[in-house]
């Protein structure tokens, strides 16, 4: 397993990485009005990494994730904001963002690809859909928030009548 992980890390990645064909839904952002990011972020108007720059993206604090580095451009591609970038500068499409998360979360990435981690729906013996990282986790605040549990079972003594 370790060997597999290291082998994967040592593969030189092409400029735009499209790894194995995984049944992953494109992240929500791609279908939102905010995309493409270059609508606002023209190439010559690159933000200089101000969090909450000009009043936008103020919700995108990255506290609790990847400290102490806190630059937007650790993950976002400064040269083309419609894509992401890996540590080595390789461009990654939003659809393949698991490659980005997998840089730090190697064990989880391997487990996710093998099916031991993360959600899958579909057929156990055939086509299935992998939930990608950001379908469950907010990329800027990846820790799950707490949820209200569904109602507790009725105690037997409350059932008697």
């Amino acid at each position: 397993m370790l060997g597999f992980g290291l082998a994967w890390l040592s593969i030189p990645l092409p400029a735009t990485v499209m790894e194995e064909e995984l049944q992953v839904e494109p992240p929500e952002i791609l279908s939102s009005l905010l995309f493409p990011c270059t609508q606002c972020h023209e190439r010559e108007q690159r933000p200089d990494n101000p969090v909450g720059h000009a009043g936008f993206h103020t919700d995108k604090s990255i506290s609790g994730h990847g400290e102490p580095t806190k630059s937007c451009f650790d993950c976002h591609n400064r040269d083309n904001l419609d894509t992401l970038r890996l540590v080595g500068g390789e461009e990654v499409a939003f659809e393949q963002l698991h490659l980005l998360c997998g840089q730090c979360h190697g064990k989880i990435h391997i487990a996710w690809k093998a099916g031991a981690y993360g959600k899958r729906i579909g057929l156990w013996n055939g086509e299935k859909r992998y939930y990608s990282c950001t379908e469950c986790h907010d990329p800027h605040r990846p820790q799950f928030s707490r949820v209200k549990p569904d109602s507790a079972p009725v105690r037997p003594e409350e059932t008697l009548r």
Binding site: Y117, N125, C136, R146, K148, P149, D150, A152, P153, T159
Partner: protein, 298 residues
């Protein structure tokens, strides 16, 4: 003229007539007779199974006012189902419990839940003090972990051994199923099961009409009746067709894993081969086909 008294003979005659009349009245509903004379599902010829399905459709139409699609999909060949649950991911939200209730037409009142989510204090594994009635505002709670328990589909199922009428057995996929029409409701299996996975219908199941799942299987999620025992079947109405069980797809944390133990490429095999897994009450030698594991770290 001498007044005739009611003799002992007359009384008996009248009584017999009355009983016969009552019987005839009750049995004019021919489904009752059929149901009474029905053999074990396992022993039926294909024609008899088809007849039973028709009878059940009629019965459910009368009872619930909706048309059911009753399947009798056979077990896939070369498949043994296994289940794994990542307890480090379970947040105790009970989404699986209610997805199961809806998928499998479990009675809402008296309430039946095939999945029970146990809450235990971190730092131990105190099953005896586990609580499944926890009801906080938000989960997961600090200092606790959650352990969902359902039928473990044992290799050596004590419930099957204990059934006096052979109304329950292990199918070729390793799933323990129940013939709901053969079960006599003695509840011996419930006493035998160390996991509390079998549940008794104290009354005719109460199902809200708009929540009835009409896609059912003869051995799986078809509505049961009063006085029979029911249990998790790994959603055989879905899994026999290749789909994941409903709890797997409902889990928001992706903690539930399901697959074919005989397929070396399956995710379940990957988990068994690469993680430390744990089976509940392993010391009882029931050999559950349900494993708990942990994906700690990042």
């Amino acid at each position: 003229m001498k007044k005739r008294h009611l003799t002992r003979r007359d009384t008996l005659k009248l009584g017999a007539l009355g009983i016969t009349a009552t019987l005839i009245q009750n049995c004019t509903d021919s489904t009752t007779v059929q149901e009474f004379l029905q053999r074990r599902l396992r022993e039926m010829s294909p024609e008899e199974v088809a007849e039973t399905i028709e009878r059940l459709k009629q019965k459910y139409r009368d009872l619930y006012g909706v048309d059911f699609k009753i399947q009798n999909t056979s077990s896939p060949e070369g498949v043994v189902f296994g289940f794994a649950l990542d307890i480090s991911r379970c947040i105790g939200c009970r989404r699986c419990v209610y997805a199961c209730v809806r998928e499998n037409n479990q009675s809402r009142d008296v309430q039946i839940h095939w999945i029970r989510v146990l809450r235990m204090k971190k730092g131990g594994f105190a099953l005896e003090s586990a609580d499944h009635y926890y009801d906080p505002e938000e989960v997961p709670e600090e200092g606790y972990f959650y352990l969902p328990v359902q039928c473990q589909q044992c290799e050596h199922p004590p419930c099957v051994k204990s059934c006096p009428v052979e109304a329950t057995w292990k199918d070729s996929n390793g799933v323990v199923v129940v013939d709901y029409d053969w079960c006599i409701g003695c509840r011996t299996c419930m006493a035998a099961c160390p996991y509390g996975a079998r549940h008794f219908n104290w009354n005719d199941p109460v199902l809200p009409r708009d929540e009835i799942n009409t896609e059912v299987h003869l051995y799986g999620n078809r509505p049961r009746s009063k006085g029979v025992v029911e249990k998790c079947t790994f959603c055989l109405q879905r899994s026999r067709e290749g789909r994941y069980p409903s709890c797997v797809e409902a889990c928001p944390a992706g903690a539930r894993k399901f697959g074919n133990l005989l397929d070396p490429e399956s995710e379940i095999r990957y988990i068994l081969e690469n993680y430390t897994v744990y089976r509940l009450k392993e010391d009882l030698n029931t050999e559950p086909r349900f494993w708990y594991y942990v994906t700690h770290g990042w």
